[in-house]
């Protein structure tokens, strides 16, 4: 890698004749950077590709550890098998519903809260910020939460998953600082032109905040898609579980396979390819969201970070 870099400079300087010639130290830095990032990419991508390869492989090759980057004993039987399981699709549908509803509710609540907090003239603003921050550091604990949700009769409903997690304080603060950094003059001008508070929010502020909104949607959607704990804790019927609980159970079933005490409950090993297929089917949709949102994602995070 380094030798290539050393030989390249003349060509490069010709191409970019206008820019200053990069210093030797900078080129070394770039070289090292490239190497490290390539390693990071490889390490990050490998598990995905491996899972993908496993999902198309024959169980025999998985068991003997022969599947790496390419499927061996290619087949689609496992996909057909998993996709024919109605419980999987029921839980999959649940995850979709939970994610969509929860993301919408979270977005509405977080946006409103953040917008209000971004107004310096608001009375009691410090208190409202404090309330949010408090929940970031303290919480009632698992069992009180369970008791609360039970007594509100939220168990076995969508709301048990949606409401307790509706506002993420971190996301709230990112949005708040984004709003704070929008020019006040814009809103003042809109007010002069006769827009009320809601008009300003809906017609001026939000259209200018697409970047942060897209980022927040992504954060929330990924969180709700991946979350399994509330679904597991508050749902007592298997037809209400999100698909992540289904998946977790599947994988746990395999890892407890050689349990010495499992004398009667003959520990059934879930085949490696069934696990892989389920992982692929579960992860794929949320991964497909990234390319479409990535543009906003990068700028949104940068805005929050640099100016805030």
């Amino acid at each position: 890698m380094v030798t290539v870099d050393v030989r390249e400079p003349p060509a490069r300087t010709q191409q970019r004749s206008r820019g200053p010639r990069p210093s030797r130290g900078y080129r070394v830095f770039q070289g090292v950077n490239a190497v490290i990032l390539t390693v990071v990419v490889a390490v990050t991508l490998y598990p995905f590709i491996n899972i993908l390869a496993r999902s198309f492989s024959n169980e025999r090759y998985i068991r003997t550890g022969q599947v790496n980057l390419l499927p061996r004993g290619f087949n689609l039987t496992t996909y057909r098998h998993v996709m024919s399981d109605s419980a999987f699709w029921t839980n999959y549908r649940n995850t979709l519903v939970y994610t969509v509803v929860a993301t919408i509710i979270s977005m509405v609540l977080t946006t409103c809260y953040a917008y209000v907090l971004s107004k310096r003239h608001l009375k009691g603003r410090g208190f409202l910020v404090g309330v949010a921050l408090f929940t970031m550091f303290f919480n009632g604990g698992l069992i009180p939460n369970y008791v609360l949700v039970s007594h509100l009769n939220l168990r076995n409903t969508l709301w048990a998953v949606v409401l307790p997690n509706a506002i993420s304080v971190f996301n709230l603060l990112v949005m708040k600082s984004f709003f704070e950094n929008q020019p006040v003059e814009l809103e003042e001008a809109a007010a002069v032109d006769g827009l009320g508070t809601y008009g300003i929010l809906l017609r001026i502020v939000l259209p200018l905040s697409k970047a942060v909104i897209a980022t927040m949607i992504l954060f929330y959607a990924v969180f709700f898609w991946n979350s399994w704990f509330s679904g597991f804790l508050y749902m007592d019927r298997s037809d209400l579980f999100p698909v992540t609980v289904y998946l977790r159970n599947l994988i746990a079933g395999a890892t407890t396979g050689s349990d010495q005490t499992a004398s009667s409950d003959s520990a059934i090993q879930i085949a490696g390819n069934i696990q892989a297929v389920t992982v692929v089917l579960t992860v794929a949709p949320i991964m497909l969201v990234y390319p479409f949102i990535q543009r906003y994602f990068v700028s949104g995070v940068m805005l929050g970070a640099v100016k805030g």
């Binding site: 003997t64 369970y146 008791v147 597991f232 804790l233 007592d236 746990a252 050689s258 003959s266």
Partner: protein, 552 residues
């Protein structure tokens, strides 16, 4: 918004436990006053219900239950099991379905939050300990009169000693365990019989025979380690090669490997001794060390993953590995299919200084009953159902094999039992269209376990039956006397035990691998004393004496 981590969960559980302590004061008083007067709890119960009777509630009743959903056969509400149960007993269940992956967590939360269903199955001793102080779990030993089948099996199979193992310091037990007529041994060594034939060696009977066999294998294949073992990861419980050490432990009369415990009953002295410092433990380690130093046992046996050990066995690099009946058929035979002429069997567990004997608990995981269920008007009917379904011969047969004529034919007692040809279970009828567990809901780990040896034998193929016959012929050794600790003592003992067990595991590995010479054994015993092994054993012995005095 934050996911709850395991650690937070534990902390929360502990906090809840503490909170429940406060509640228990009030609860305890209440139920004591109620005493054993059951006149208000008899709705649906049978007046006359005894051993051999079919339980049927006098009116339809519904009981809430925790229902573990096994990923191998996920819960289905329309399983024929449930329909048939209702038909036979008039009982239906209101289940809280919990995935196997996190069953214990949710059980803890529900019990601590006071929201537990009436019937809480699949609890492994000593998991029930944590709930007792809170008063959320019923002392079922007070209500055994409602359970004729349970009492009958305890008496018939002489299981008082086993039951004593789960008694608390108050002399009661809070878990209705699964009952096995005899100790069931499943784990042993898998040996390549084609190699034995080639070298003209008989199947080994004792560990000395195993030693001789390994030497012969080594002589014929000097480049290989003839024995490379598995079940070392995850490390706990045990420090590595856990199955092998457990088998050896039983042969030498000490706890080792998977089954490691710090307190070992010393019958000749009439008290408990520290297991990891006993002479038998030293002899066991010397034997393992001999195997390692003669390069018969792969030193990686103590650290490698199961997959690596399997690959060595599959590739013919090793000829001996630990197994159970399932692994033999599902793993080793399949792996070896590509090696021409390779055959493998599970040999009877090799014997050691203890001789032709076996030791083990005859009780296993079981059912807890929520204290709240005691107040239900259907309480007696519920106990009768639990007794019928989990402990009567008919109930056990039903939960395990289903409906005669539909899922099975024949009879357990005269060995004519057969699974119907269109039903598959484990290795039986592998090409049948329907699965006993997935499609019918029978042989579900929540309901089906324990039972007579004859019932157990129905699930074995001819080869495994042969193995079981040999093991049945061995004498079952008596269990150690009970030594229940109080809650405070348990905490203190746990603190000591953590350090002690870790240290024994570490040093076991060092002695076995020859990294520490046996001339340092006395120094090692003294190091254990430095870690309070003596105080620990004194505590255990005082608990033993106390229980003997109070309840003996």
């Amino acid at each position: 918004m934050t996911e709850v981590s395991r650690r937070q969960l534990l902390a929360a559980g502990a906090a809840a436990g503490a909170a429940m302590l406060g509640l228990s004061a009030c609860d305890g008083g209440g139920s004591d006053k109620k005493g054993l007067d059951l006149s208000k709890n008899k709705v649906g119960a049978m007046d006359k219900y005894g051993v051999g009777d079919q339980f049927k509630a006098t009116e339809p009743v519904k009981f809430s239950i925790m229902m573990l959903s096994n990923p191998g056969y996920p819960y289905k509400a329309n399983w024929p099991f449930f329909n048939e149960l209702t038909k036979r007993t008039n009982v239906s269940f209101d289940p809280t379905v919990i995935p196997l992956s996190d069953y214990n967590q949710k059980r803890s939360v529900m019990i601590s939050a006071g929201n537990a269903p009436m019937i809480i199955p699949k609890t492994y001793d000593p998991d029930e300990d944590q709930y007792i102080a809170g008063g959320a779990i019923l002392a079922v030993s007070d209500y055994l009169d409602l359970m004729p089948n349970f009492k009958d099996k305890i008496a018939k199979w002489k299981m008082e000693g086993d039951l004593d193992q789960i008694r608390q310091a108050d002399g009661k037990f809070y878990l209705l365990p699964g009952l096995h007529q005899d100790v069931w041994k499943d784990y042993s060594l898998a040996v390549r019989t084609d190699i034995l034939q080639k070298l003209n060696i008989p199947v080994p009977q004792t560990w000395d025979d195993v030693h001789t066999m390994l030497r012969a294998m080594k002589a014929a294949y000097p480049a290989n380690y003839p024995f490379s073992d598995r079940w070392s990861i995850p490390a706990a419980p045990g420090g590595g090669a856990n199955c092998l050490l457990q088998l050896l432990g039983e042969a030498y009369g000490v706890w080792a490997g998977w089954g490691y415990q710090n307190a070992q009953w010393d019958a000749s002295a009439g008290k408990f001794a520290f297991n990891g410092a006993m002479d038998q433990y030293k002899q066991l380690l010397q034997f393992v060390n001999t195997l390692v130093s003669e390069k018969l046992l792969d030193p990686e046996s103590f650290t490698q993953t199961d997959d690596i050990a399997r690959q060595k066995f599959a590739n013919g690099q090793s000829f001996v590995i630990c197994t159970n009946a399932q692994e033999l058929v599902n793993t080793y035979r399949k792996d070896l299919a590509k090696v021409p002429g390779a055959t493998v069997v599970k040999i009877p567990v090799p014997m050691g200084p203890v001789g032709a004997a076996k030791i083990g608990l005859r009780i296993e995981n079981g059912v807890m009953i929520s204290s709240k269920a005691r107040d239900s008007k259907n309480f007696v009917a519920m106990m009768q159902l639990v007794d019928w379904l989990w402990y009567s011969d008919a109930g056990q047969l039903f939960a395990r094999w289903g409906i005669e004529g539909q899922t099975y034919t024949g009879n357990v007692d005269d060995s004519t039992f057969k699974l119907s040809p269109d039903v598959k279970w484990a290795g039986i009828n592998p090409n049948a269209p329907k699965s006993l567990q997935v499609d019918y809901g029978f042989y579900n780990g929540v309901f089906a376990y324990g039972g007579s040896t004859k019932l157990l034998d129905t699930q074995f193929n001819a080869e495994e039956l042969e193995f079981q016959k040999v093991m049945d012929g061995r004498k079952t050794l008596p269990l150690a006397p009970p030594k229940p600790l109080t809650a405070d003592e348990r905490e203190q003992a746990a603190l000591w035990e953590t350090g002690l067990t870790d240290y024994v595991d570490q040093q076991t590995l060092k002695f076995a691998l020859g990294q520490r010479p046996f001339s340092q054994w006395d120094a090692y015993v003294n190091e254990l004393k430095g870690k309070s092994s003596q105080q620990y054993i004194d505590l255990i012995n005082s608990a033993y004496e106390r229980f003997k005095k109070d309840h003996g």
